[in-house]
Amino acid sequence: MLKIAITPAPRKDLFHISNVMLDFRSLLSRATRPNLAPSNASAICYVQALKLTCLTLGGLGMVGLGGCSVARSGNPTNLPEAVSPQTKGQLEVRANGEDFVRDGFTSKDGWNITFDHLYVGLAEVTALQTDPPFDPDGDTVPQVTAALEQSEAVVVDLVNDASPTTALVATFDKAQSGRYNALGWRVVPAPGGPSAGQSLQLVGQASKDSETLEFSLDWDQSYQYLCGDFIGDQRKGILKQGDRTDLEATFHFDHLFGDGEAPPEDAINQDALGFAPLAALADQGNVTLNRSELQAQLSPEDFTQLETAIAGLAHVGEGHCQQVTAIAPTPEVQP
């Protein structure tokens, strides 16, 4: 259940599709007309506000409207009270670190990076049917018509659990058929296992020229995301009766290290930290650091860039996500 306010995730590589226009004048006027028909809830707000304005000098009317907004913020996804018990098919949610993680890649500053493990802790995985389709780039709240949720935390290794390219995170065997066009999840510290206490753990090697470094980077920050429809070669989340489908939580690690195959002026490289600032912290061929050590040893600018890049890892294929703020305090983890 998503209960907290939503703000756009830091993304500088985004684009948007705009200016939907029709060629004919009459259609153009309809296409660009603002939506003046409020929803029932909004209409109720308006009536309440006007009554309060008449009775209490308007100031209280603003409070009334605010009350309406607060009530909606309390349930930002407008989840239905009870989802139909119809059991129509199977839906899987899978995690993907892309080829960068499985096959290795060259960072923007020329380091060849390969991973032994890349652990991610995931919880509150929520598959949503929304109507109208949720737009993660817009300032909107998803209107949910059906929802599936797995609340417990799962840790996946994006390198070794991938079968063949994605790792299983959640399975919903009795999913209501329809279009699952939104996906939410939290990145949380692992409750146990090799990455206990860490929401992200990157383990691998980086080499450049004749130098090879072993790295193990721990990150214990929590995040929460709400994403739109999957964007990729195939469409996902379309569940027909008696069939199965999947959704994908995709992590773009080129946003962290950059892409040596892209031009330096490309946004992906302008925004990424690269590996050189981490290599500079190596101690006897090892870069083994946690978040607080990274904050202490990196320059403030580099650490901010690292934080921003990690927060922006989450995608759905090539589609975007909103980062939900006001994460609850990280729970105590017993390793």
Partner: protein, 168 residues
């Protein structure tokens, strides 16, 4: 296909051309060619990066309401990031346009009504009207509060009451 004013105008012009050909004795069916036309509502999509740069030559896939799995039309944007398509009038509902380039992608939903017009999607956030109303109420409240206190009679100082003595 629903005729429009523009369609009628073009049709009249072509009919006139055919009439003049007959009067001049020219063969009206010279090489058996025929040009038909249809005027259809079309949708122009402009795709650009957040920086404002156009998504030139980006992959476009258009999905019709009755088949969101298989593209109804595919193509590329032009140098300005534009792409145009004409939705089938027989398929009303949510048309989806997906634009992708170099690992980045986005999707827009265009609700087409049965008459071919675009119906704005209901907004789930605060609408401009809602925001404007909230601003207006805030100003109204400030004004009312100010007037209330400005017209309020000043309280007159009251003499201290005599101490009450309770006798047993």
């Amino acid at each position: 296909m629903r005729p429009t004013q523009a369609a009628h105008g073009i049709g009249i012009g072509l009919s006139s051309l055919g009439l003049w050909s007959s009067l001049l004795g020219l063969p009206a069916q010279g090489h058996g060619t025929q040009i038909d036309y249809q005027v259809t509502p079309s949708v122009n999509v402009v795709a650009q990066y957040e920086s404002g740069d156009a998504m030139a030559q980006a992959q476009v896939a258009v999905f019709a309401p009755d088949n969101p799995q298989t593209p109804w039309q595919t193509g590329l944007t032009d140098a300005a990031g534009r792409f145009q398509f004409s939705p089938a009038p027989s398929q009303s509902g949510n048309w989806e346009v997906q634009v992708r380039q170099a690992g980045h992608g986005s999707l827009i939903t265009i609700p087409i009504a049965a008459n071919g017009s675009v119906e704005p999607l209901p907004q789930s956030g605060l609408s401009p009207v809602h925001k404007l109303l909230m601003m207006g109420l805030g100003l109204w409240g400030l004004l009312g509060t100010g007037l209330y206190f400005s017209n309020r009679p000043r309280a007159q100082p009251q003499p201290n009451p005599e101490p009450t003595t309770v006798k047993a």
